[in-house]
């Protein structure tokens, strides 16, 4: 019985959302509201339970340093008050400070020097002429693509051509990103159809499961 109810709820939710393609309606609105409440409350509770485990319980057991993040977290709620909202700036400062320092630790090695070195090496690692030529295209393409993000020089003359060719590389990548997302969205679409066809029609209605 629970399986039947489960499949029915699922299929109702799917069609409530898809009815949206026709126009916005009460069913689609309710489906959305249910998900808003589920996602917010579930995430909130999950986080609060975790705060209890990693901060409050250790605090009660004598790890007094945990009072600092708890107070800083609570200070965020001063935003609700007009008079004391400036206190939340301390929470943000500490968050930003920790984030800034931590971000800088690996960014240069991974995303700057690491990428420059792997791009430069590519033509030299090639085993065939095609791979070697492709490696050189990669190197030139990277330099030309980078010119697109140079803002202090007007894109005219030779630099204009460099930017134009660089843009073609960017467009090829954007095209690929688009295709990748089509594939991803299609998988999810198939998943939704599975709920209707496999889980509901075949398993429940026709009893083929």
């Amino acid at each position: 019985m629970a399986d039947v109810l489960f499949a029915v709820i699922q299929v109702c939710m799917v069609f409530a959302v898809w009815s949206y393609l026709y126009k916005e309606n009460l069913a689609s609105r309710i489906a959305t509201t249910i998900v808003i409440s589920i996602s917010t409350v579930f995430y909130f509770m999950s986080n609060m339970i975790r705060v209890w485990d990693v901060a409050v319980i250790p605090l009660t057991k004598g790890r007094f340093s945990m009072i600092i993040p708890i107070v800083l977290g609570l200070l965020l709620y001063t935003r609700i008050s007009k008079t004391y909202s400036w206190l939340s700036a301390y929470s943000y400062s500490i968050q930003l400070g920790l984030g800034t320092g931590a971000t800088l630790t690996t960014l240069i090695a991974s995303s700057i020097t690491g990428l420059i070195s792997s791009t430069v090496l590519k033509p030299f690692q090639a085993e065939t002429t095609l791979e070697q030529a492709s490696g050189i295209i990669l190197l030139i393409g990277t330099i030309l693509s980078l010119t697109y993000w140079i803002f202090t020089k007007e894109a005219t003359g030779w630099f204009g051509w460099a930017v134009k060719i660089g843009r073609l590389f960017l467009m090829a990548s954007i095209g690929m990103l688009y295709a990748e997302d089509v594939l991803w969205a299609q998988s999810i679409f198939v998943g939704a159809w599975q709920i209707v066809i496999r889980d509901f029609l075949k398993n429940i209605v026709l009893g083929m499961g």
Binding site: L21, F42, Y43, S46, N47, R50, D53, V54, Q95, L98, G99, G101, A102, T103, T105, T106, L107, A109, S110, S111, G114, L115, S118, T119, S173, M176, L177, E180, D181, V182, L183, W184, Q186, S187, I188, F189, V190, G191, A192, W193, Q194, I197, R198
Partner: protein, 278 residues
Amino acid sequence: MAEKSIWQRIGTIDYRLIYLIVALLTAIPLWSPIGTPVTVGPNVKSYADQISDFEPGTVILCSFSGYMTMLPDVEPIYLATWKLLFERDCKIMVLNSHVDSPAVIKEEFEKIKPLENYGKEYGVDYMIFPYQPLPTATEIAFTENIRSVFEQDFYGTPLDDLPMMATIQSANDIDWYFSSDASWGNQRYTIPFGVKQLCWGTGTGLLPFVPPYYDPVIGPCYGYVGGASQGGELEKYTGLLGEGAKINDAKNLGLVGLFLFVIFGNIAYFGEKYAGGD
């Protein structure tokens, strides 16, 4: 009002018709599969081969970001990878990186049955961390000392009570890191600790970020599999068949529909440009 030319009509098909045709093309094979053969790509082979070459005792940290919405896209990859990993003699730690992930992983392990099918015991061969968001600073603390962030596992057992954790203290003790993100997500492990990376379940547009970091010989990313179609390829290559191969047909026919409409759009554009409004 001037009547529309043939080109204009081809170029302005009602979007609802497009929705209907593509939706039907996707749904038909789900009812009755066609059975298109799957060909396996080089990156999928490289990914599976790397896992097959794992030495006994290899320590793996799996950053598991599976959540319910994206499961149709990546679950075939996850399931095939779990099976591959459980066939080896590895120590697996699972780091949940999405609020849904603990529920998903519980369900996946119930399907796989590590103890019954592979003789792998919780706490001895694999373990799961609880879900906690890990901002960069927290993640670095985790790499320096796992216990500074997690004192207990997902079930509330202290880490020190899990036999497999006796020798695992920090990222220095981790050999391989599995993650969906090759660019930002891997830095804290690959750069300071030289942990090798494999990318799995790289959906939602993360796949194009892999090539700058991917090299099957020098890394840091040694292999990747992303998207449902590659899930099917992984299943075929490893012989661990599942849902990935089944939904292949639906994906194929849906794409045929999309291609047809793009061709129509271009015929309309060039027809109007060169043949005018006739």
